[in-house]
Symmetry: C2
Subunit: 149 residues, 2 copies
Amino acid sequence: MFQVPTKTQYAIRALVHLVRTKSASVASIAEAEHIPFKYLEAIFGQLKSAGLLIADRGRSGGYRLARAPELILMSEVVKATEGDITPVGCLDDAGFCIVSEACLPRRFWFGLKRTVDAYLESVTLAEIAEPGFLPAPDPSQKESAAAKD
Amino acid sequence: MFQVPTKTQYAIRALVHLVRTKSASVASIAEAEHIPFKYLEAIFGQLKSAGLLIADRGRSGGYRLARAPELILMSEVVKATEGDITPVGCLDDAGFCIVSEACLPRRFWFGLKRTVDAYLESVTLAEIAEPGFLPAPDPSQKESAAAKD
DNA sequence: GCATATTCAGATCAATCAAGTAGGAATTTA
DNA sequence: TAAATTCCTACTTGATTGATCTGAATATGC
Ligand code: FES
Ligand code: FES
């Protein structure tokens, strides 16, 4: 269920880039981060609409962060590129289930959503832009084990 | 990034159904759970290949769980319907990044994957098939503003 | 002023995937 | 043997993703 769209990956890489260079044009970021220029342009439009970026138009213009990276939650970034993340459709409107009104699977999905939201809200842009960041303190990192089977 | 496919939702609903009725045909489950018959047939093929279901062919046949529901993790169910969930593409092969080998966004995505995996592995099919299950003990259920401890 | 570098806005397009359909073969039982 | 089932393969359809194209609006430097 769960592949992060390149749009979001691009957005985060670009934002991380902007944390270091205080201001930069889309063209320069696109080249440095190997992101399609026109695509990144559209993405930055979204990030600006979401209030995460400020644009300086005209010659020698560019984009800069609207806030300090410590104040930008990753949940905001994800919400800016993708819409509001709703795990299951039957959670949509009034939260009713077709099958039964006391739907147990629904609770399961809700718990998953809460888990993901909590993680995304626990990390700021500043944290992933600077070295020394690692979310979970699990010593046994099975990075390669995840890709093996 | 994160909409659960109906295939997975169907699979879970059908499995929950199978926890109660020890054995049932695809047709009966499809009707009871309002799932397209042919679609559920295909899904059950996957669940059987994954070793979660056992099929009894022929007349008065049907499907039954291969194990007790207490021994079926939700992570197995999800992995059966969808493939192995890989959040970002650049995490694919050797785990290298195009941009830099010490990629910080990559850690962020990895943390997200670990978080989701941990949740999916913490819930069994038996738990979501019986009443009285609620993963997070948060009394104030708010959809948008989740737990910000 | 004018060329130039930028953001901005809109349409468009190809590829992929999700969701569902269709037809029929194989298998077991009544 | 007939009916009910699983099984298998292919197809269709619609939405989404990822990206491109065209060009306008805007500001700066010279
Ligand atoms: S609310 Fe989604 S299956 Fe019940
Ligand atoms: S590994 Fe994905 S952006 Fe670096």
